[in-house]
């Protein structure tokens, strides 16, 4: 399966939007946190998990999704959210803890919910696997179209929740695709030191579903394999497991000194930054010109700027909002 010109440019635009968004978030996150880095300070407090480098996974998968399809994402959710089409302004406002954010500041960057596009993420490892199965089950039972995608990290495959959900998806033939982002590190612990098999696609066999491993953080290869998997799910042919080699260009969270990385690893990863690579390929393939791509980048930047300005200018919720929204209204 190969992306059309429109799909190719859409993927590029979403990758750039995610990158530009996180570049600004990274800068603002450090406001109020220098010279002494204290997570509690600044306009964006708390933990910040950046996804730069992992954009190909999000766009290669989400290129095949509609707003009706369901995504459960991780604690590192920005690229996935942007590719799924969440409202960028409301997401930015949520990250700033503002009243205009999705939850009015109750959830923050690890707890982004955009029901309009069926996007949710959460802060605990492998937590999205079960809910993705449930959404797929709901569609199956209601006879409604739609698939569910469960994004998780390579570290998450050692959680019981992942294995239980995989089996459930297999035994009930659910329209769900499990997408593992293999960025090689679970905080400071390498995949090699935590996982008994080198590639997790082999685990699919244990749950009666096909498994694929995609190398090289390549948005085109991801588009291809994910497209086939999502088509199978839509056709009632059941779940798929896909593991994708990707790169975490930042630390686990901002403030992570990354002393556990081998020397030179980061430099090597930055040389393989997927965004310039995709840009070069688009030009080489004759799909678009430099000018076209510059225009896409300008558009992405202006969307990001608009969202950040909206977040900055929005008010905080009143303190007492902390006490509401616990139960259904």
């Amino acid at each position: 399966m190969e992306p059309t010109k429109d799909q190719t440019l859409w993927m590029y635009q979403k990758m750039v939007t995610s990158r530009r968004f996180e570049e600004i978030i990274e800068k603002i996150y450090l406001e109020g946190k220098t010279p002494a880095f204290n997570m509690a300070n600044g306009p964006i407090p708390g933990e910040m998990h950046l996804s730069n480098g992992q954009e190909p996974v999000a766009v290669g998968v989400c290129a095949h999704l509609n707003a009706d399809d369901v995504v459960t994402a991780t604690h590192r959710p920005h690229h996935q959210a942007i590719a799924k089409g969440v409202d960028l302004k409301k997401m930015a406002a949520e990250i700033f803890g503002k009243k205009t954010g999705f939850s009015g500041g109750r959830g923050g960057h690890m707890h982004i919910f955009d029901p309009d596009v069926n996007f949710a993420c959460s802060g605990i490892i492998a937590q999205g696997c079960g809910p993705a199965c449930g959404a797929a089950l709901s569609r199956q039972m209601q006879g409604k179209p739609g698939v569910a995608i469960s994004f998780l990290g390579e570290g998450a495959v050692n959680q019981g929740a992942f294995h239980e959900a995989m089996n459930l998806a297999g035994v009930w033939n659910l329209p769900v695709v499990f997408v593992i982002e293999d960025n090689a590190w679970g905080i400071s612990v390498s995949k090699e030191d935590s996982t008994a098999v080198a590639r997790n696609d082999v685990r699919a066999a244990a749950y009666g579903m096909p498994g694929f491993y995609i190398e090289n953080n390549d948005p085109y290869a991801i588009f291809d394999i994910a497209g086939e998997a999502i088509k199978r799910a839509r056709d009632g042919k059941g779940p798929t497991l896909i593991e994708i080699e990707t790169y975490r260009l930042a630390g686990h969270f901002m403030g992570d000194a990354e002393g556990y990385r081998p020397e030179g690893e980061k430099d090597a990863l930055f040389k393989k930054d997927p965004i310039p690579r995709m840009r070069s390929r688009i030009i080489a393939d004759g799909v678009a010109t430099d000018e076209d791509l510059d225009a896409i980048e300008r558009k992405a930047q202006s969307q990001v700027d608009e969202a950040i300005a909206f977040a900055r200018e929005s008010d905080l919720a009143p303190d007492t909002d902390a006490l509401t929204s616990v139960f259904a209204a």
């Binding site: 802060g123 400071s188 935590s194 616990v326």
Partner: protein
């Protein structure tokens, strides 16, 4: 000891925990540590820093993100003669592995009629205040303390942190060791200065099940644990300026709970305020008040008060979270509202 040397031993809780584990591992080869990021990283909250270099990967074991597996493995190893120390990175994560904790670790001694002991330590971080939202900021003291079969401790300072950890590792029962992130001494979390106190170099124990009167007073008893102790001490300073003499009790241990120290204090002061960063209902604050009223309600001059976390998930936005958290002013206001 000169002041200079004393200052050198003013430890953070993180360092005190690490030193305790280090000394016990030197003394007892059955002790080993398992958890996520406790090796090269030295623990996300610094409490195993330096241990990998000294003891190597066999005894300082980074685990997969598999809490059910490695905590229940610790149960099995403890029952087989080892003395494991395991880390659950955030107390909030207990949801993925509580079966191993409360149905195995906590019950196997009872189920075996004492035939099998489970000498292990489960250390876990608690607390918020830095906008880490509702899955990374909870205390859950009451949830752990409610379930029988495990001791539960929570230090408020480095001296107690070291001695409690040593006592926990030497205890033949499982001990849940809950350390508050805001006291840990990690710069990136900010830190309560009062938690950093002189910490003797030699190995020592702080008794599990014994509360401490950390400030004597006559007009009101303020009871807290971990961060709550520091809020109580600050409130006591404010109250002192208003001519009110507050006694402050650091519970140190929730299980066993030193009810006698609380009862004796309230017998003297006649007033009780309990401070708890855990959810208010069905928790520590209710247990302390019940302890006093069940014993002799006539000792109370007025209804007791509690300053606890409201019964809502912890919000991300800084203003909302700070609104919910206990603080010294809320404690002072609770006193002012007493008859």
């Amino acid at each position: 000891m000169s002041d200079n040397i004393a200052n050198e031993r003013k430890f953070t809780i993180a360092r005190a925990m690490a030193e305790s584990i280090q000394q016990e591992m030197q003394a007892d080869e059955r002790v080993f540590v398992m958890g996520e990021d406790i090796g090269a990283l030295g623990g996300v909250f610094g409490n195993t820093r330096g241990l990998l270099d000294e003891f190597g990967k066999t005894r300082i074991r980074d685990t997969p993100i598999s809490e059910t597996a490695f905590i229940s493995a610790a149960v099995g190893a403890a029952q087989d003669g080892m003395r494991p120390v395991v880390e659950l990175m955030f107390a909030d994560f207990f949801g993925v592995c509580f079966d191993a904790i409360y149905n195995l670790m906590a019950k196997n001694t009872y189920f075996s009629g004492g035939g099998v002991n489970v000498p292990m330590v489960l250390m876990t971080s608690t607390g918020g205040g830095y906008s880490d939202a509702g899955q990374h900021s909870q205390c859950l003291y009451g949830s752990f303390a409610h379930l029988p079969g495990m001791k539960v401790v929570s230090p408020s300072n480095a001296y107690d942190a070291k001695g409690l950890m040593t006592a926990a590792m030497r205890d033949d029962s499982p001990v849940v060791y809950m350390y508050h992130k805001g006291l840990q001494g990690m710069g990136w979390l900010g830190t309560e200065a009062g938690a950093q106190v002189n910490t003797p170099e030699e190995s020592y124990q702080v008794e599990i099940g014994k509360a401490k009167v950390v400030r004597e007073g006559t007009d009101v008893t303020l009871v807290g644990l971990a961060m709550g102790v520091h809020n109580c001490l600050k409130a006591a300073d404010i109250l002192a300026k208003q001519g009110v003499s507050a006694e402050v009790i650091d519970l140190v241990s929730l299980v066993p709970l030193d009810r006698e120290t609380v009862i004796n204090s309230v017998a003297k002061t006649g007033r009780l305020i309990v401070v708890d960063e855990d959810y208010q209902s069905y928790g520590v604050s209710g247990e302390i008040i019940a302890t006093v009223t069940e014993h002799d309600i006539s000792k109370l001059k007025t209804s007791p008060k509690r300053v606890a976390y409201p019964d809502v998930p912890i919000p991300y936005a800084r203003n909302m979270e700070q609104f919910c958290l206990p603080n010294p002013n809320k404690i002072v206001a609770a006193y002012t509202s007493m008859n």
